[in-house]
């Protein structure tokens, strides 16, 4: 369990935020446009052939812009879930075809969400600050994304601490008892985090001015990504299918 928790916590930023600091990070708007547009297409398009064509195109496009690692990591979650749901659907409906449809659309969902996962969290927060969105949105985003890592890290540490008990002792201290130090640490961390925010003058009051250190600006790469995805989507929708 320690290894899994540590692995997720360590791999997640490497895969998702791997482009966090580089100039090749996607602009949040570009990621949102492609994500929402492709999601709408995959959900609404009744023709599975067209869905499949656009999926292949989007997969190639996302790999070309450097989302390969993110695709692999997010695939570990989406694809098994998709397989389970597809099998369940087939069994419930008694029709294997319905299962394939479910698997295809869930895989499509995996592709449409990945662009959002590679945008550094700070880019989202700074973009929201640039457009003067309510600061509470930025705060929620920051804490939600950060807390995932914090929770996994704390789980790993608590499990390692449980392992310091000799096996005989551990029998007298069941696995569920790990919830005691875990909840204590989560509460401590939450407390400290909220104090730290206040001590660094963060406020949700929109009247308090704040600056943006590195404004997020769209680049040609973002335009090409959005343009190519849109072109493929239109092409998949309009072109006659040869089969």
């Amino acid at each position: 369990m320690t290894a899994i928790a540590k692995g997720v916590s360590a791999a997640a930023p490497a895969a998702f935020g791997g482009a966090a600091t580089g100039s090749h990070a996607l602009h949040p708007v570009a990621a949102l446009l492609v994500s929402i547009g492709s999601f709408a297409f995959f959900v609404a398009c009744p023709d599975l052939r067209r869905v499949g064509v656009f999926m292949v195109a989007l997969l190639i496009l996302e790999c070309l812009v450097g989302m390969g690692r993110a695709l692999l990591l997010s695939g570990l979650f989406f694809l098994p879930a998709g397989i389970v749901m597809a099998l369940t659907m087939s069994w419930v409906c008694g029709d294997p075809g319905s299962g394939w449809s479910m698997l295809l659309r869930l895989s499509a969902l995996w592709l449409s969400e990945t662009p959002l996962l590679v945008v550094p969290e700070m880019s989202f927060v700074r973009f929201l600050a640039q457009v003067h969105a309510p600061r509470v949105l930025g705060l929620c985003l920051l804490i939600t994304l950060r807390f995932t890592h914090v929770i996994f890290h704390q789980i790993a540490r608590v499990h390692a601490a449980w392992r310091t008990l000799e096996r005989g002792g551990a029998h007298r201290v069941g696995v569920l008892r790990m919830a005691v130090p875990l909840m204590s640490r989560v509460l401590d961390v939450s407390d400290c985090l909220s104090n730290s925010l206040e001590m660094r003058c963060f406020t949700v009051d929109a009247r308090q001015p704040s600056s943006v250190y590195r404004p997020v600006t769209p680049t040609m790469r973002d335009a090409v990504f959005v343009g190519a995805a849109t072109a493929w989507m239109v092409g998949a929708l309009m072109c006659p299918m040869p089969w």
């Binding site: 930023p13 600050a129 008990l165 002792g169 201290v173 005691v180 400290c192 730290s196 250190y213």
Partner: protein, 505 residues
């Protein structure tokens, strides 16, 4: 008070955590001028952190707390002011650095506070460029992969970059090796020289006293200022913009002793030689053979052969990131080697519940508390109730057997987990940073208990620390680690040489 020209003015401040509770601060009055570095010290649980929380307005918002008196920080009365407004005048770096870091990169973490103060981006960039090299941190570093010492420095950089007139640091040196300590203290001294008022709350007093202008001791709810160490000129109380020509350093040893700072290095007595390192009387307890531990393709530990003897007390020293904690985790079985073997005297692999009995006390004992009463915590390791009750009496928690462990103070929790480790009658006791968060008397009590329970039972003991306090006295053997390997293995004199590199006494 307002307009007195001091950075901090406290008058008749009283604070308690609830109705009917003993006040933590009792009619406490204190002033701190601009341009000074104050060492704030006191026993564990005396109220240092509470004092800092009062200064920044956090304590007053605790439910059921009672606050009285006046506090003026940077010329403003903090009564009835929201914390975020007070935070524009005073910054506090809390003890738990893991919980303070919000962002994925060091640069973003430092910039966050500056953005909230509406600092222009070019100025933020200048502050980052100033403090990252000064504190030895990479602005592009991933905060999730930083060591504890590096996180501490990032939190300090984030506080310094906001350029607030008053800065308070709560045990900033806890996770730092001696190199890190020097880096942070030099940066702090520079801030004080530039006119900021800096308060450093620490137990590792010898590391701070060389840089401090004043020493303040929290005792019985009040602050007692002792004289400044001779050889350091007192700073003129000035405005924030006053500059000094440079810090004066190097206080004499007698001056430090006269200043009232209690001795932090437990020596054998002036002029007495160290006791000769005890040759192990009995056999090897466990061995590490060709052990390698890797993480993310990096070799963390590489030990060809390391024998731990039954009745030896081993001290492990080394800089941050050298692999001390990983070595301790290997010895306790929490970490498995990627290659090589951890074996007992007969060459059999050791596992949990197999081979020798081991107990490991972490630096943060909160993780190791699994039950809901103090007594149950010991009973989980040893079913003999009377032995557990005797142990609780021995560590001074006899009257608290039915308390929830998490309601204890940090020092009490530490003693509880130590007692739990000792009651399990281990063959090997492993202690990571025994001095973390401990003042001198508590540390001495803890080490005496370990010595009494381990030496008498031929239990081996392995301790890892950055702190010179009491280090050499309790060790028979000293291992120096560097870059994952044991580079030196000798007697207690090695510890003297190690700490003497930085002239720490």
């Amino acid at each position: 008070m307002v307009g007195s020209g001091n950075a901090i003015d406290m008058a008749h401040v009283t604070f308690s955590y609830g109705d009917g509770e003993e006040p933590v601060l009792d009619d406490c009055s204190w002033s701190v001028p601009y341009g000074s570095l104050v060492l704030l010290k006191g026993e564990s649980g005396c109220g240092k952190s509470t004092l800092l929380a009062c200064l920044c307005g956090l304590a007053q918002s605790f439910p059921r707390s009672r606050f009285g008196g006046d506090i003026v920080v940077d010329g403003i009365d903090i009564r009835n002011r929201p914390v975020r407004d007070i935070a524009r005048h005073i910054g506090v770096v809390q003890q738990d650095v893991d919980a303070q870091i919000l962002h994925a990169t060091v640069e973003d973490e430092i910039a966050f506070g500056c953005e909230n103060l509406d600092m222009p981006p070019d100025r933020i960039s200048r502050e980052i460029s100033r403090y990252c090299p000064a504190l030895g941190i990479d602005p592009q570093g991933n905060t999730l992969t930083l060591s504890g010492g590096q996180k501490e420095r990032v939190c300090c950089a984030a506080a310094f970059a906001m350029r607030r007139p008053v800065i308070a640091l709560d045990e900033p040196l806890a996770n730092l090796d001696q190199t890190g300590v020097e880096i942070v203290m030099r940066a702090v001294r520079r801030l004080a020289d530039q006119g900021h008022a800096v308060i450093v709350c620490e137990h590792r007093i010898s590391n701070v006293i060389r840089y401090a202008d004043r020493i303040a001791t929290v005792e019985n709810g009040r602050i007692r200022e002792t004289s400044t160490p001779s050889g350091r000129k007192g700073l003129p109380g000035g405005t924030r913009s006053s500059e000094r020509s440079g810090p004066s350093r190097g206080t004499s040893r007698s001056a430090r002793e006269n200043s009232g700072a209690f001795p932090n290095r437990v020596t054998c007595g002036a002029g007495e030689p160290h006791p000769p390192s005890r040759e192990p009387k009995s056999s090897v307890l466990m061995s590490l053979r060709d052990v390698v531990v890797r993480r993310q393709h990096r070799c963390i530990i590489h030990v060809d052969r390391l024998d731990i003897y039954r009745d030896q007390s081993v001290l492990v020293l080394g800089d941050n990131g050298c692999g001390k904690s990983t070595l301790l985790s290997l010895l306790s079985g929490v970490v498995r080697p990627g290659s090589g073997r951890v074996v007992d005297a007969r060459g059999h692999r050791i596992g949990r519940g197999r081979g020798i009995r081991r107990a490991h006390l972490w630096q943060t004992p909160d993780y190791q508390i699994f039950t809901t009463t103090v007594l149950d915590e010991l009973l989980a390791r040893n079913a003999d109730r009377s032995a557990c009750l005797d142990m609780l009496d021995a560590i001074g928690l006899g009257g608290l057997s039915h308390r929830h462990p998490l309601s204890l103070s940090d020092g009490q929790k530490r003693r509880l987990v130590l007692a739990a480790c000792l009651i399990s009658e281990p063959d090997l006791l492993i202690v990571d940073e025994p001095s973390a968060g401990q003042d001198g008397p508590n540390l001495e009590r803890e080490m005496n208990l370990i010595e009494e329970r381990c030496v008498g039972r031929s239990c081996a003991c392995v301790l890892a620390t950055h702190d010179s306090r009491g280090a050499a006295r309790y060790a028979d053997r000293v291992l120096i680690m560097s870059e994952g390997a044991v580079v030196d293995d000798g007697g207690p004199e090695l510890a003297d040489k190690w700490f003497a590199r930085f002239d720490v006494e």
